[in-house]
Amino acid sequence: MTDPILRAVGLTRAFGGIKAVSDVSIAVRTGSITGILGPNGAGKTTFFNLLTGFTKTGAGEVYLQQERITNLPPHLLARRGLVRTFQLAKPLAGLTVEETVLLPALRVGAGQDRRQARERAAYLLDRVGLAAKAEATSESLTYGDLRRLEIARALMLRPKLLLLDEPFAGLGAGEIETVSQLIHEIRDREEVTVLIIEHKLREFFKLVETVIVMVAGEVVAEGTPAEVVKHPKVLSAYLGERAYEH
């Protein structure tokens, strides 16, 4: 058994007295596709923000491959291979699709050969199915395209651990299938560990190997999808959620 790629120990963060994330400890197995499941407002995105340095922690520690990375700024974490996407995929105004993917390689000190970077960008655009739109402006893309563009940009950084914040949000059934396949391929071919936040159950359970369930800022269950669905706390949280969702 290899060491976990990421460990969070007792992560806590409160906003105005309300604990958005409360004493959360998890370990993500290297090479796995792990999911964090939870109803809206369970603190999933805050948890991601704590892991990736976008929000300062109140208490607790984060380790990437045994190295303490708590509260490092996002750009340094990204350079160490901890790369995230956002719940809302947004275009970068005025940049073409190719430029958007190239962006991580353009910074001062990125240390990438320009030709290699362009080849990598072209390869990734091809992988996510946007090769034909490389010269288009990113603002002209559909929402589904933007999602895949975002994943391509994240892969440009050659992440060790890819954190996807609701990658299916705003997508139709067909697009969800495509993105789902893409995530599988990425894990297999790029040797990336994937951590996904979602609350859409069905597609999610087909994709992930381990599920961590969060409710009201706390971890309530952990296991394979088959184990987790039978957990009483998960059932109650999700029955409640379904009652007012749709």
């Binding site: 976008f54 996002p74 970068l92 958007t100 962006l103 440009m156």
Partner: protein
């Protein structure tokens, strides 16, 4: 070809040649003086655009850096007798440092808050300049700078050369990878951070560059006027520069510079009409903001190129 567009290069060199020919056509110091002023405005508007146009952080206190450069050069000359040429070298360093210092706490602020913070910073500098009159000369400013060139036309060539090189350098910077990163920062900072970009370092460095070029223009202007006056620190000047950038088309560098050149010349021409000058400015701004999104200069040039092609 992302870097050099042939038409653009040819036209800008032709414009340079035209401006360089002016002293051959007229020996009128008044005309050269107006052009020197206009070129200084072009440097100021272009340097404003470097930060504000690319990242969308609209700086309403650019005069702080212009004035700092002008006063630095003037003070070195009048207090220590250091040659104006050195002043022109030191001024950008002083203004650039100030830019980094002011950028450090303010660049975190969003939209209008950044605009207000820079406006207030320049207002503080302006007020301090008047209060510390023993050093700054108060309302009178620091006068009696020793001219560095023998004739007005010599100084004109100096200003034209520095102005052209500065604006070309800023344009190339905007077209470079760094410019692309800055535009991405202007669009969405969080995405850039997630893309391993040190957003703060980029913004502060660019603010320092922007301020340094403003200070360079300030020193050149003081060298022409032989005075550094408190007007160079005023909010009025900052706002004038923002207007010029809006008219030129933000984020294009050359647009604001060209707009500044023309507007400064028009204003100089309108000086005969005295009090209508600022009214015209206000009306132009009103029309530009109401009717256009990208100003006049850049859309006009694109349209013209389209017709010529």
């Amino acid at each position: 070809m992302r870097f050099f567009n042939r038409t653009d290069s040819v036209v800008s060199l032709a414009a340079l040649a035209l401006l360089a020919a002016v002293p051959l056509l007229t020996s009128d110091n008044y005309v050269l003086g107006i052009l020197i002023t206009a070129i200084c405005y072009a440097i100021w508007a272009g340097s404003w655009d470097l930060l504000s146009g690319l990242t969308g952080r609209e700086n309403f206190g650019h005069s702080l850096f212009i004035g700092a450069g002008a006063y630095a050069a003037a003070y070195l000359n009048t207090a220590y007798g250091i040659d104006l040429g050195w002043g022109i070298v030191v001024a950008p360093l002083v203004s650039g440092t100030l830019g980094a210092l002011i950028g450090l706490p303010t660049l975190r602020l969003q939209g209008p808050y950044f605009a207000l913070a820079t406006l207030v910073a320049s207002a503080i500098a302006h007020t301090l300049c008047l209060l510390l009159w023993r050093v700054t000369g108060g309302e009178e400013g620091l006068s009696g700078i020793l001219p560095m060139a023998g004739s007005q036309s010599d100084y004109y060539y100096l200003v034209l050369t520095i102005g052209f090189v500065s604006i070309a350098a800023m344009k190339l910077f905007a077209l470079s990878d760094a410019g692309l990163v800055l535009r991405a920062i202007g669009s969405d900072e969080a995405i850039c951070r997630a893309a391993a970009i040190d957003v703060d370092a980029y913004k502060i460095t660019t603010f320092a560059f922007s301020a340094a070029f403003a200070g360079l223009g300030g020193a050149l202007f003081a060298g022409y006027q032989l005075t550094a006056a408190p007007d160079l620190l005023s909010s009025g000047l900052s706002i004038t520069i923002v207007v010029m950038a809006y008219v030129g088309g933000m984020g294009t560098i050359y647009g604001p510079a060209v707009a500044a050149l023309f507007l400064a010349l028009i204003v100089e021409y309108l000086r005969g009409f005295g009090e209508y000058r600022l009214l015209v400015y206000g009306l132009i701004l009103l029309v530009v903001v109401r009717l256009t999104r990208h100003g006049f200069v850049d859309p006009f040039w694109r349209w013209l190129k389209g017709r010529l092609a």
